[in-house]
């Protein structure tokens, strides 16, 4: 984890495991009418923070924990989303509404389905042959799981940045121009040049704009024709973000974008995400709770079994979670 990360976000205090622990005695918050709390959980909770629980406590997920009222429009409306990988039930009946132009963080222990959820928002799960998706995902009111959906258009609107930087083995310029060229928005091929309608100038403008937006322009403007694989990890990841911006998406999905980076590069990416949220809807998966607390407006917590347990304003989720399991998780008792 990036304890050493310089915290750049100032409007929201960074939280560490210890501070939450100190603020809220775990026993006190436990609802009295919770019938399913096991003794094992009680024991560990009572003994203090040095223990790890063997797993999660049993508790009934309540509907109101997942309700979150926000102002403005919902970008995504997900209803009863189930995803199976073969016999594995990766997501169970997830319903969530994601607001526009904000940062939504998805947190949870590994294997809880948060990446699966993210990938079902732009149908990247279609790549996995054994995956089966039931339920409904609407973007701006339009169902994306129905016949006749144009995947090209969907993925243009919903861009994605992956866990480890994956630039194409091409030049920096070609990396940025790749999407628009493939979608026919920019033509620079030999045929276009022959017909005298090459958009090289427009392409270069676009490349600069995207790189500036991704805070990379200053570092690479003198070597746009170099192979992108020669950049450092952090630069590669920002290049991937710039590449994602080049097709003018409405939503940017990020799957642990900083997990493979060092603290300084992480800080840059986090700054960038904050800027992006003014113009784009950002949904970010992270296993780093401090990161989620720093950068997100609202947080959804997935726990084992692919369940959405709690969803709400980030401050509320981190400071005053409804669910005991969520509290255990964010205080570091398991996960």
């Amino acid at each position: 984890m990036s304890e050493t990360t310089p915290t750049t976000k100032t409007d929201r205090p960074a939280k560490t495991d210890q501070s939450t622990e100190a603020d809220q005695p775990t026993e006190a918050d436990q609802p009295a009418n919770e019938p399913d709390v096991t003794t094992a959980a009680d024991a560990t909770n009572g003994d203090g923070a040095t223990h790890t629980t063997a797993g999660e406590t049993d508790e009934q997920v309540r509907e109101e924990w997942r309700e979150y009222d926000f102002e403005g429009m919902a970008k995504f409306a997900v209803e009863d989303l189930d995803v199976h990988y073969g016999d594995d039930h990766a997501l169970q009946g997830v319903s969530i509404e994601i607001p526009e132009n904000s940062v939504t963080a998805l947190i949870g222990p590994s294997g809880c389905g948060k990446s699966t959820f993210l990938r079902s928002l732009n149908r990247m799960n279609d790549r996995i042959k054994s995956a089966r998706v039931d339920g409904s995902v609407r973007i701006d009111g339009q169902e994306i799981y129905q016949d006749g959906v144009n995947l090209v258009e969907l993925r243009k609107r919903v861009g994605m940045v992956f866990q480890s930087p994956n630039p194409f083995p091409k030049s920096i310029r070609e990396n940025i121009a790749y999407g628009p060229e493939k979608h026919g928005d920019i033509e620079t091929g030999p045929l276009a040049r022959l017909l005298g309608r090459s958009d090289a100038a427009a392409r270069d403008r676009l490349v600069e704009e995207c790189l500036r937006d991704a805070a990379l322009w200053e570092e690479v403007n003198d070597r746009l024709d170099d192979n992108a694989l020669g950049l450092s990890g952090g630069q590669q990841q920002r290049l991937c973000i710039a590449r994602c911006l080049s097709v003018d998406p409405e939503v940017i999905l990020m799957d642990e974008p900083a997990s493979a980076l060092d603290p300084i590069a992480t800080a840059k990416i986090e700054d960038l995400i904050e800027q992006l949220s003014e113009e784009y809807t950002v949904v970010i998966v992270t296993h780093n709770m401090q990161q989620a607390a720093r950068i997100s407006d609202q947080t959804a917590v997935f726990l084992t079994g692919g369940e959405l347990v709690e969803y709400g304003d980030t401050d509320q989720v981190f400071e005053d979670p409804h669910s005991e399991r969520v509290e255990d998780y964010i205080t570091g008792k398991f996960g």
Binding site: G148, N150, K182, H183, G184, D185, L191, L195, V247
Partner: protein, 539 residues
Amino acid sequence: MAGATRTPLVRADASRPEAVASLAMAIAVGLIAVGIASLFGLVPIDAAIGGVPTVTALGGLLVVLGAAVIGLGVGSALGYIETEPSPNAGLVATVGFAFVWFVLGGLTASLVLEGGLAWLPAGAVTGGAAFAMTAATREDIGSTLPAGAVAIVVGGTFLTGTIGPVWVWDLGFEQQASMTATFLVPAATIACGLLAGWAAATAYGGFGARGRRMGAYLLIYVNASAIIGVLFLLIAFTAVRGIPGLLTGATVGSGVGPTVSVLGVSVTLPVAVPFVMNGVSLLNDFQGVLPAIVGTVWLVVGAVVLAVPLGVGAAVFLTEYAERGRLTQAVEVATNGLWSTPSIVFGLFGFTFLVPRFGGNKSLLAGMVTLGFMLLPLVLITSREALLAVPDEYRDASAALGVSKWQTIRSVVVPAALPGVVTGTILGVGRIAGETAPILLTMTGGTFVSGDRAADVIGGFAFTSQPPFVTNPELLQATTALPFQLYALITAGVGLGDNVSNPVEFQWATAFVLLLVVLSFYAVGIGARYYFRRRLRHE
């Protein structure tokens, strides 16, 4: 930013144009099938399909296909069909169409103008026109019009009888050769079917990126099914031709077969298949290839005995002991070089190096060693891969228990890699069992060998007081093997008649037996791979 194009997220219903496009694709695939069938003479082009002469019918279908393809393109251009065409058809399509039209124009010119270099400018004109046409128009026109036009032009020449069933074009080469309708008509039909089918598939996908994907997928699927089709055809054809010869004189019933003694117990087989149980002699009712089968078996055994220990040992050294460096690199280059060395070169090597050392005659032993050398790189490469695939954790775990390196290799690494080694060896053996060229130069015996001369290697060992102290006349004698037997049968040609009552049947049966032997190695190899993979997953 560049978000100039906004297309609806959900595509509108477009069932009617899609129906036209799929109909066109179906016609195209059908035409390709008919074309292939008539290439093989299954649909003679001078006959008639349903009362209509074949050539005319093909021509008619081609014209319909071309018209449908053009209709799709024009319909899209005029806005009747909702599509997402790119600004142009792309470089590959442009160059492709230009080439097709260059050939078409050039051929027509040289046919009409009879010789000279007139075909060159003519081809350049049509090719250039197609290039300009494809490049300058939007994709929906650019990728359908040239393709449809080719189909219509070719179909038109068939329809009008310009090219009829008896059409012949003398190419005017010094060594005489002509293009005949029996070849040209099916070939042109297949080519037009592919071209127009591609265009129709593009239209089916609504042009643009999705359309090109459809077009490319159509071609790739056709290619894959063609490869599998050829494989199936080869095996089925050999089987159909070979089984009658194989079963000549075959009888089933208790006590009809030859008596086989295993470990002193004599068993009389209940089936008799003379073709694989007899040799060739005047007294036999039915002639067979037993000596060749026995020879092949001994060859394979010899090669395996030589190559497998050598290959596995070398692989163990390379992966477990050797540092990555000059030596491993040199060995890798050498192995890959050996792998791609032509088999006939191995034969030459055996001829000049091994034969003089094994008594100066072509011999079974020389053949074994030559094939062993051929098998070696295959075994080495597959064993190396299998050994490298063994996770380092196994080695570390074993080493952490204080086990010596060699013990680790012997009891952990090699057993874990065994499935890969076994599978690779079996597949390699399948390959060398069918090799002819090397044994041609090292081991050739007669074409027809009598049954009692089947090599008996085990009984042949004898110790002598003379150097080299061990002799085995059987090993040093030339014998025969299935692949060589087949080669000899082909080259013997007419002379076969004296020995075998039905030489053609005998040849095909030999080919079939050879195929059976080799393919059973492959079946075992592929089966073993599946078995091991299954077991690995369950554990």
